[in-house]
């Protein structure tokens, strides 16, 4: 399922072979929270060069629900998207979105943030829902500690996540043996906050159970960037080389570059899409194929910085009839001037968000292309 094609130092160039297709790594997964990347159609996302999407089990469990999704034949069919999908487990969303969530050893009871309906989400239910969704990669259900938790809470959450990982693996094996038509994969999530010893314990426990891939969870939640870098490298250094590694929920382009340099294979992040909807665009400072990524320092942008952020709603773009990004090959840059995009944001046209989303996602996907090319060279 995972093939390591080349390495330079800790940087890895790999290939994931999944039921719905091949994913070249390092890869970036656009987020289709409710079954669509906000503002984009599946055809749009495909044409941007995305080879895998992420979708959120929590949101799909609320609407269309497990029975609904069953009748609809799964998410690939619903979205008309025939490339791979990774689903998270719902653990992070019941913690961050749901009202009145209450965690016991069995699972999390929460109220839907939509209609207040009470739902009890367990490791088993998360597996079942992800199986109904039909994602290529399922994530284990985990107990998520807040970013500023005490060591005791981190330890509790990590230990419980380990026990839930075992329950997920068991439920996963049961459902997989019932369903011979697809072969889903199951990834575990390494937890433990910024504590090396807790991360070590999490790692060992998960490796004992054995998963198809391993995610680094609980980072990009407000901790210092140097702490995230330290913990991510600590974890990567101890993960098996023959399994894919997924950094959850990060980050800025220079962070992606750094995490790739320490051996991460997969990313997802709301940064490109959320920034786009607020008029902040990522713009190349040079042709991405000419970037020397080895110039990166540990906690900073590479020198010289390879990109900048453009606030398109600000004054200077008002009469700038030039392209948004001369180095970009996206549909938006081919057809839209800075002045027009600014005008669309200024008058509140939805089209503005779509055009900006197309650009920012293409920026991230092209960054991954450049990073992949840099390993082969």
């Amino acid at each position: 399922m995972f093939e390591l094609l080349a390495t330079i130092g800790k940087t890895r160039r790999g290939r994931l072979t999944l039921p719905h297709g091949v994913v070249e790594t390092p890869c970036f997964m656009p987020i289709a929270t409710k079954g669509a990347v906000k503002t984009l159609s599946s055809a749009d996302v495909e044409s941007l060069g995305a080879s895998v999407l992420l979708s959120n089990t929590y949101h799909l469990l609320l609407r269309p629900g497990m029975d609904g999704m069953k009748k609809l034949g799964g998410l690939h069919s619903l979205m008309n998207w025939d490339r791979p999908i990774l689903t998270d487990s719902g653990g992070y969303q019941v913690f961050s979105l749901a009202k009145l969530n209450k965690t016991t050893e069995d699972g999390v009871t929460f109220q839907s943030h939509i209609d207040g309906k009470r739902i009890h989400l367990t490791p088993e239910l998360s597996m079942q829902m992800q199986q109904v969704i039909g994602s290529d990669i399922m994530m284990q259900f985990d107990d998520v500690a807040a970013g500023d938790s005490t060591r005791e809470r981190y330890e509790e959450a990590m230990e419980r996540s380990l026990r839930w990982a075992a329950r997920c693996k068991k439920e996963f094996s049961n459902t997989q043996s019932l369903n011979h038509s697809t072969t889903q994969s199951l990834f575990a999530i390494v937890q433990g906050g910024t504590h090396e010893d807790l991360r070590q314990r999490s790692l060992e426990g998960l490796l004992d159970i054995g998963f198809d891939g391993y995610a680094i969870g609980g980072l990009s939640v407000g901790e210092k960037r140097e702490d995230a870098y330290r913990i991510a490298e600590f974890v990567c250094d101890r993960l098996p080389t023959d399994k894919p590694r997924y950094f959850m929920g990060g980050g800025m382009p220079e962070e992606i570059v750094h995490y790739v340099s320490i051996g991460v294979d997969m990313f997802d992040c709301v940064i490109p899409t959320r920034n786009a909807r607020h008029g902040t665009l990522f713009v190349w400072n040079q042709d991405p194929s000419t970037i020397d990524f080895t110039l990166t320092t540990n906690y900073q942008l590479p020198i010289p910085p390879f990109y900048r952020k453009l606030n398109i709603t600000a004054e200077p773009s008002q009469f700038d009839t030039g392209p948004i990004d001369p180095f970009c090959d996206c549909l938006t840059c081919k057809t839209t001037s800075r002045a027009y995009l600014r005008h669309l944001f200024s008058v509140g046209e939805m089209l503005a968000m779509r055009l900006a989303t197309i650009h920012n996602l293409r920026f991230y996907l092209r960054l991954m292309e450049a990073l992949r090319a840099s390993v082969v060279e």
Copy 2:
């Protein structure tokens, strides 16, 4: 500029040759109020087969404003749209949208509905703004009477609109002689509510001044459909055959069919786009090329009805994995099931509005294609 290619009864098949291209009539103009058809890019609108857009002088006068539009080089350049554009004059919007509008013989003073800024819009300013926008067809500035006005108010508005039409023509001739690079056209607007004698007086006055085309204004504003049909036919019967006729702001598909049958050439309407954004889709009951439009009755749908309205957000679409409209050739119908479109509306994804807009606009544009084909046969 206008060529009458064929007629059957009162129905006309024509061709408008404008600075930015040829428009086959009868035609439908999608509405790009603020410089974009809501949710769509210019490339989208082009790919739907629209050959001419309508944009609103009032909105563009507020943002980007006259100086802004000048610096931006006009609307074609701003939107990256190289096909014809018709602009309305702002008369209807100062009446319907602006706050505290006050009409004198000189013009209308109003407060912007955006920021409360006070603006004095005159026939001359409307012409100047439309010239800066660079539309292929400019509309005269008119005094708009509410749909339920007294005869006295209709008469006053009609007479003032006549005087303003003369001022528009004069200002238009001045600006056109200053600008040799393009040749804009100027259309007049026949007013007079549902009173034949006022319409007659309006017609005669406007024909005396002489314009490139004539619009039927002040209908589709709440009057009975039979009154609108009666007045539209009264006006069409008295308009010169060698000039294009534009019915402003209407209507439902069966109304379009009827107005075409009495000799209207051009239409614009918010119905397809606004309905789309609320989840109401127009669906063919048969292949549009097989519709016999002569079966139309005066105030009703043709028998059998050639379309129906589908409320995609309603229950029956929930698990309907079939296409939205089997007879439609649009991008949405090619890629999206009813169930997915319903899901997108139900979870509040903007993509839903875009997909529905694409479908409904294609429905209207294809109706025009079918109507044009029916005249040649």
